[in-house]
């Protein structure tokens, strides 16, 4: 029966193809469709994550290299997984370390390492006569064993799919590091793998090599640099804004001087003394009382000095609803207290030479070392 089929296939190949196509063709089409659908899903997932830092970085790299980002996304969508990592002594074929992503991996890893070594030796003898080079990969179905050797040991990594660029270089880096770190142990290997146990951490990183990972050191440097630049720019912007604001507010404008309410506390020699058109305080329930401290203020020879405890707007009247003078008394500014009316304090200070400003601020923002003399405090009605 088998011979008859073989003979028939040999003699009438086209006929056989036509006969089998409805069965095999459909199966092949289904398999290919499924594979393409999987790929499309993977590409779609990549595109959906297009705002992640990794994707942005990838796009930037693609732009720099001149590769279309769609091709990069397609490449990223190809599956890749590291299943097992073997660290094998080159001369004896003895297994030094084995790491697997599957906790129930085959317990015969030492036999595999022996057979792998035998296969490498065989390939070297069979094909490498007088030539430099070694067996560096074995393909078995979808699975591949990638081999990277150093002088006394070699790494065999079992992978599925297509490895990302740089993966082999990473393998080489690992095996060279191990070779350098354990050169003496490997050269005189006595069969005890315990001294090589610390190398496991280094090998474990290969297991995650194909998965999306955190930014590389170079990427981190660039990101940190950009972030620092943004922070510096922001800080400079804030500082310059503050400086501009300070400059703008330190220059007294004619407006507050013109509208400042004056009381008799201002000495007659000051230029502002003549600019007092309205001594009354409209919103205050006792507007007519405000002039009264003037007489007492003028009687006190020593000025009462206070210190501003915060940045406070100066107002024309001793009331929160009264208009602002357009100036802010800054924290730490020394002022002369002219009068106290309720919760408000009339102060005077000179922002510049030959310029004095008089206005009202809440008394809670003015600190004094000595108690405020009673003669400048205007008693409130009912108090």
């Amino acid at each position: 029966m088998g011979d008859a089929i073989r003979r028939k296939i040999r003699d009438a190949r086209d006929e056989m193809v036509e006969a089998l196509y409805p069965i095999i063709g459909r199966t092949v089409i289904r398999a290919v469709s499924e594979a393409i659908r999987d790929l499309a899903r993977a590409v779609d997932a990549q595109m959906r994550a297009s705002l992640s830092p990794q994707t942005l970085w990838r796009r930037l790299k693609a732009r720099i290299k001149g590769v279309p980002s769609a091709e990069v996304a397609l490449r990223e969508a190809l599956p890749f997984q590291v299943n097992e990592v073997f660290l094998i002594h080159r001369e004896t074929g003895l297994l030094l370390r084995h790491i697997s992503c599957d906790p129930e991996a085959s317990p015969d890893s030492d036999l595999i390492s022996g057979m792998l070594t035998a296969i490498r030796d065989f390939a070297q003898d069979a094909f490498g006569r007088g030539q430099e080079g070694e067996l560096n990969a074995i393909q078995y179905g979808e699975r591949r064993i990638m081999i990277e050797a150093a002088r006394h040991a070699y790494l065999a990594v079992v992978v599925d799919g297509i490895e990302p660029p740089g993966f082999r270089a990473e393998m080489r880096e690992r095996i060279i590091d191990i070779e350098h770190a354990y050169e003496k142990t490997l050269r005189n290997y006595d069969g005890d793998p315990m001294p090589l146990a610390p190398a496991e951490a280094s090998l474990r990183s290969l297991l995650t090599a194909g998965q999306p990972r955190a930014l590389s050191p170079a990427q981190k440097c660039v990101m940190t640099g950009m972030l620092s630049l943004v922070v510096i720019c922001l800080a400079m912007f804030c500082l310059s804004g503050r400086w501009v604001w300070q400059v703008m507010h330190r220059i007294p404008t004619p407006l507050p001087v013109a509208v400042e309410p004056t009381f008799t506390a201002i000495p007659p020699s000051t230029p502002t003394a003549t600019l007092s058109p309205t001594p009354t305080v409209p919103p205050s329930p006792t507007p007519t009382l405000t002039p009264t401290p003037a007489a007492t203020a003028s009687a006190t020879p020593t000025p009462v000095i206070g210190l501003m405890l915060g940045n406070v707007w100066i107002r024309t009247e001793p009331a929160a609803a009264s208009p602002r003078l357009g100036l802010i008394l800054e924290q730490g500014q020394s002022v002369e207290i002219l009068a106290v009316f309720g919760d408000w304090c009339q102060v005077r200070w000179a922002p510049q030479a030959q310029v004095e400003v008089v206005g009202w601020v809440p008394v809670k923002w003015v600190g004094t070392i000595d108690p405020i003399p009673a003669q400048i405090i205007t008693p409130m009605p009912g108090s």
Binding site: H89, E91, L95, L111, A118, D192
Partner: protein
């Protein structure tokens, strides 16, 4: 307990019974079918042995090397790093004892410190046994030992 692993080779002419010996030793089964190897087959056997007041778990990686002439060239590669070897001969074929010297020389030229053990196989095939006299076998082994010592 200390765990160590060693590479041990099985050497001998074609069909002396190396593979069967490994099967018997490692898997505790005996298959009378001849299993041809493709040049080498690796098996594992773990034994517990006392050493210097401690217990050592010794894992022997048994490299069963084919005795076919076609693998003569590649055999040298397989011998690298072997801590020892079991030299196997067939009592029904005296010429297999003579070859052991060559195998021993090959191994010792690559690994001068390797330990050797001799195994005379197929003792049960009394009807075919051509080396019936134990003294004769012993003489061969002694002779081999002298050569190795020299």
């Amino acid at each position: 307990m200390i765990s160590i692993a060693k590479k041990v080779c099985l050497l001998g002419d074609l069909a002396v019974g190396k593979t069967s010996l490994v099967s018997r030793f490692v898997y505790n089964l005996f298959d009378d079918k001849y299993v041809s190897t493709i040049g080498v087959k690796v098996s594992r056997k773990t034994v517990i042995i006392p050493r210097a007041g401690d217990i050592v778990e010794l894992t022997m990686m048994l490299w069963n090397l084919a005795g076919n002439e076609e693998f003569d060239r590649v055999r040298a590669s397989y011998l690298r790093g072997a801590a020892g070897a079991v030299l196997v001969c067939d009592l029904t074929r005296p010429e297999t004892l003579d070859s052991l010297q060559v195998y021993a020389d090959d191994l010792l030229s690559i690994n001068p410190n390797a330990r050797l053990a001799l195994a005379a196989n197929k003792r049960d095939l009394t009807d075919q046994q051509r080396l019936t006299q134990e003294q004769e076998v012993e003489m061969h082994f002694r002779h081999l030992g002298q050569l190795l010592a020299a």
